[in-house]
Symmetry: C2
Subunit: 726 residues, 2 copies
């Protein structure tokens, strides 16, 4: 069976690799099995070089893949490494095994906000201690094998000969035996907001050059793709594979370089301007490299591996962290109907010096008292918790593309934004305003003002902030995902915790389950969200891929809920449109896990569809249970979720550019109990291009024995509210 598989599936199988395997075994490879016995992994040293592999049900998922890091031989200023005296001593060869420790855990823990009431963390662990003889340096390679895949990382104990070092590159390899289908976005140090490509591994280089558009800050990595990466081994016995990273702390985020001939990927860390990819002080550990593997796509969506690989929070008080449903003075600026800035565009602003009473208003400033009160009224009438207001603070006239460090102070409102009055008005109606801190990438400036900014929030009763990092980073030469910026995001999260403030960050790094440790970082953008529908657009399959990639490590602030999908409504002749039906917009609230959940459209549009809007009003944002009913990346996702502390269920289904039927089997409901289902589905003539606003709504009594067939239009969907009839 084993050899059969090798011969039939492995293009690269040769006598040499067979002999290598034999030699490897003779070196006493360390083996580890998952708790359910289905996974097995081996670690071995081949002539001092560390390798691992991974099998599922006896079949190779990852072939022998190299492990290790390359270093600069000095810390601090990076030397000219072409000079012999700057030769490095890498941590990727010359090792002998000195020890091996095994461990196991089977625990259940409760996320503060989550998709289920509790998550299971069940793994077997192997820690291999290695000594590099020539330098007498010790590292540990630690593996955790779960029932849904493998995590591994490098650990650097405090020791005589390894106290400080600087990383040139981490070369953790993922060597797959066969070409596979993959869903990817281009590698980049500064942007994740790219459209997904669906190709074979071997096709990535040829498609790479056409796979990106222009962003406000981007630093592309040729022939690299981003982590998390989704793959599928097609065929009779399909395997769904997700390669990602967890617990990316005090370390840069990684991309994956592609070797298209060998179907191999390797880590490619985000550098700083000096080319350094991490300044390390021992004791220390890298992030976990993760490989989720399952025969069913649904299992990948269900995996909590990345969260399990993070540490429990040390926060003493998490009572202030709560799910949030919010509206925002936002979409109207995104589409160009109004503006963030108060003054004429491109007015030259010096924060702290410019006298705004002398600035000519542009007449399109959205965050004004009158408009904000209207939004408050509508949000309050419809049961929302929060209202985001962007463009409330001075500086937006020239906030971008100038490498301007002192771009915002985060504390001074525009003349037409009465911060005290508006907060009091909102609170009187049960709404909390949501703060907005756009940094324009000037992280040093934000750190300087963060205390004052959070103090202002405490003063007026804000408990959540949307942060933004649009544009090139300051410190200049740092990247959005370099180590310094990773540390910045967590510094801000920790400081926000001191002030009992929740963070929803945009243009920040993609999460790797760190919300377990930093639970006040409640959501993030870190991918191509709804706003891109008003730029170059998202593909109809976009939302069926994101949960397999961006969502694997934490929730996304996708900002769905656009009912007026065609923008020619605002601007006659405008070709832009949101590439979904209205019913699909509703379904996104269930398919996409969002504890911070926005209804992004304008009140005027919701007012025209109050019947459909009812779903957004009803849908929960925090959950006791989640069932992935059916899913295929790039095609469709059908999800059922049980609202926190209730017997209410919500079901959402979405499809890609193809029409699709799906029959929901309600057997997940309590047996013998009756429920009222309110169904929101595409109208018969619905179509994301020709008739996006066509939908049907009807109610139906259902039980756990019920089955309902839903017909989804092209880029359509359906949503169901289920409440017990007792």
């Amino acid at each position: 069976m084993f050899l059969n598989y090798q011969i039939s599936d492995m293009k690269k199988f040769t006598v040499e690799t067979f002999l290598f395997l034999m030699i490897g075994l003779s070196f006493h490879a360390q083996s580890l099995k998952s708790p359910d016995g289905k996974f097995e992994m081996d670690f071995q040293l081949k002539q001092g070089v560390p390798y691992y592999n991974l099998k599922y049900n006896g079949k190779t998922v990852v072939e022998d893949s190299r492990l290790g890091l390359r270093l600069f031989n000095v810390t601090g200023t990076i030397p000219d490494i072409t000079k012999p005296e700057n030769a490095t001593f890498d941590l990727n060869n010359g090792f002998t095994k000195t020890d091996e420790k095994r461990n196991a855990k089977n625990e259940t823990w409760q996320p503060i906000l989550g998709e289920k009431k509790s998550y299971v963390n069940h793994y077997n662990e192997l820690a291999v201690a290695l000594n590099q003889t020539a330098t007498d340096r010790n590292i540990i390679v630690k593996f955790r094998l779960f029932n849904d895949g493998l995590g591994f990382r490098y650990e650097f104990p405090q020791q005589k000969n390894l106290n400080y070092f600087t990383i040139r590159e981490e070369d953790s390899e993922f060597d797959f035996p066969t070409d596979m289908k993959t869903w990817w976005i281009v590698g980049d140090y500064d942007s994740q907001e790219y459209p997904y490509q669906t190709t074979k591994i071997s096709e990535i280089p040829s498609k790479w050059e056409q796979a990106f558009d222009k962003h406000s800050s981007q630093t592309l990595i040729q022939n690299a793709v981003q982590s998390p990466l989704m793959l599928k081994k097609e065929g009779k016995e399909p395997l769904y594979i997700n390669v990602a990273e967890a617990a990316v702390l005090d370390y840069p985020a990684s991309n994956l370089e592609v070797d298209p001939q060998n179907f191999k990927f390797k880590t490619h860390l985000t550098p700083d301007r000096q080319g350094a990819k991490g300044y390390i002080q021992t004791p220390s550990a890298t992030p976990w490299r993760t490989i989720i593997v399952a025969p069913k796509a649904e299992t990948v969506l269900d995996s909590k591996m990345l969260f399990n690989l993070n540490e429990p929070t040390k926060y003493k008080d998490t009572s202030y962290i709560h799910p949030t449903k919010y509206m925002g003075v936002w979409w109207e600026m995104i589409i160009g109907k109004s503006q963030w800035a108060y003054g004429e565009p491109k007015t030259n602003i010096h924060i702290g010096k410019t006298d705004y009473s002398t600035i000519k208003p542009n007449g399109k400033h959205a965050a004004n008292n009158t408009k904000v009160k209207e939004y408050i009224d509508f949000a309050a009438e419809n049961g929302f918790d929060g209202l985001l207001i962007e463009g409330w603070n001075i500086g937006w006239e020239d906030w971008i593309n100038h490498s301007k460090e002192f771009v915002f102070d985060f504390i001074t409102p525009y003349p037409d934004f009465d911060i005290k009055m508006l907060n009091e008005y909102a609170h009187s109606k049960g709404i909390k305003l949501i703060m907005h801190h756009e940094t324009s990438g000037s992280a040093t400036n934000y750190e300087r003002w963060a205390d004052k900014a959070f103090q202002l929030m405490n003063k007026y009763g804000y408990d959540a902030v949307k942060t933004g990092y649009v544009g090139d980073i300051i410190p200049r030469g740092e990247h959005h995902y370099s180590q310094w910026m990773i540390n910045h995001y967590y510094r801000i999260a920790e400081k926000a915790n001191e002030y009992k403030i929740m963070i929803n960050s945009h243009e920040s790094v993609r999460p790797g389950g760190e919300s377990r440790t930093y639970p006040n970082w409640v959501s993030a953008e870190a991918a191509r969200g709804t706003e891109h529908e008003a730029f170059l657009g998202n593909n109809p399959d976009h939302q069926t891929i994101l949960p397999f990639t961006r969502w694997i490590g934490g929730s996304m602030d996708y900002t769905p809920g656009i009912f007026q999908t065609k923008l020619d409504y605002y601007f006659p002749g405008d070709k832009r449109f949101v590439k979904t039906t209205l019913a699909k917009q509703l379904a996104l609230y269930v398919v996409m896990y969002m504890p911070v959940q926005m209804a992004a459209d304008l009140p005027e549009n919701y007012k025209k569809h109050m019947d459909a809007f009812q779903f957004i009003k009803d849908v929960a944002a925090d959950w006791d249970d989640t069932k992935i009913l059916s899913a295929e990346p790039g095609d469709y996702i059908i999800t059922a979720r049980k609202a926190k502390g209730t017997e209410n269920w919500f079901v959402g289904g979405i499809t890609d550019e193809n029409k699709r039927d799906y029959t929901v089997d309600f057997s997940f409901l309590n047996k013998g109990k009756k429920y009222e289902a309110t169904i929101y589905e595409d109208g018969k003539d619905a179509d994301y291009i020709n008739n996006p606003q066509s939908y049907n709504i009807y109610k139906k009594e259902i039980t756990s024995k019920s089955k309902i067939n839903f017909k989804m239009a092209r880029s359509g969907g359906f949503a169901v509210t289920i409440k017990p009839l007792d």
Copy 2:
């Protein structure tokens, strides 16, 4: 006369330049004269390119020298400038003159701390407005001509086509007609602590490679020298010339590139890691380029031009700023007798995590309660104001060379340093402890902790801090003198002012008169100070050059007062020694203007020479008047100063490696008044190598008619205290 001078002195004079001059004149050069009429400068456009020149007494001091800046054509991330699409539009050509404004000022102002009671600011001003036709951008070149030389700068008004730009280089030229003697240190972006070289301009490149030693952070600039630069045109009509810069704010500090064939220098700004030399938002102005010119060296030392070119302070309260005489727990660490660190060297410290109760003490930690109390006792007994203690806070075990960002927290004392007790003890004896904030170059970390650090100082009654920037800068890739760091120093100064704290910075940028605007930045190191005597040593002429260079823009914390000059006293066989006599050490307190004045040696050494120590106890640190009696850079300086608010005078004289006689004429004293002079002079057998501690002390009654001849030993000197006998 004019033509004679040209022909006899100008090596480069040709028919072409003569014609050019004629053409220049035909373009109606703008001329400006100094208030006393001795200086004349011309501005002219030659085919759209701006030039200036400078004459003194009708003779050319600076030939036609180009002005202008080169730019990057985008702000933010710096593009590949080799690509045609990134071609730049420099601000150095294509100009037409659109306006010309003249102005004049004659004011007297009072420095908060200074060498005289008041400084005279007297100049004529010419502001030439230029328009670059092709881009419709406007700049102003502003000239101020004083009776001691020229200052000029570029101003960028706010305007339609010039709001933000990024500087590639400022190319302000200083084209001298002849080869000259010059006193210089090698150009560097990160260190100023080099030994001075004395060569012709034309010899700089050949001497450059041997002109530096290794520093903890250094980024040398081949064939560049540092500003301020001292030059001398030798001959029958000598001229002393100092090229420097003033008001270096929101802009990098500059070096000077050498063109040895043409005796020309041009500005070379300090870049950031991207190669950018200033991110500018209009309205803005560059620093002033300054050229002090005088027939006498004494006039250069007397010049206050750099201070005059800075703005008056905007601080509302400067009452907390005071001159300080201090001792320090410092020299014993510098020489290696004790240590900053509490634990064993190279212990791996994680601030906030490491438990110091588990760290093994190294037994050599100087900043301990017992020792600090001994220093307090001695300082108090001898009338000092302050005591600096370095190594009081945790983190010194591994503070350097690791590019470690969180290296210090500035608030946590070592276990053996009782901050509360020691401050109370000090205050009970009339001593204020002086805080020490070594940043290890980690400026981002210091900014993060500055508020807490200053709050701690307020809590315990510290009102002054010595800051330090040893090592490579974080943000990584920034330099000690790049724009970001310049802004950092002033951010810290402004924040310190909020807490009523004075700053004495080390390894910071050399000053350019900015203390007029930021008077709480009371002193700085920013050159090779006494500490280098314990490293590779300072040359005997070092102290005779520093006042002509480093001191031109502000006071230096030179930390003199070493009585035990030979270090074999501590370590038998140690070859290191301070290369002056003891008497010269005393003279430095007068020759070097130091409102923050250290007596750097150990109490045990002062106790052996209490008669000589009496001069340090008596000497003032703030002055009503200063007379430079005689000076020649690299040879000698004789200075008399009148102590603030008294009739006491102090005289100091120093010489280089040569013995030298000097007769002080006391005619600066009030006529008809009798004074008691206490004279501290080299002993007859004194010699900086063979007998540095030989000195004589005697008293003498003197009047304004007195003259006393002083014999200075090799690297010797003399000091005089003069008190009225009423």
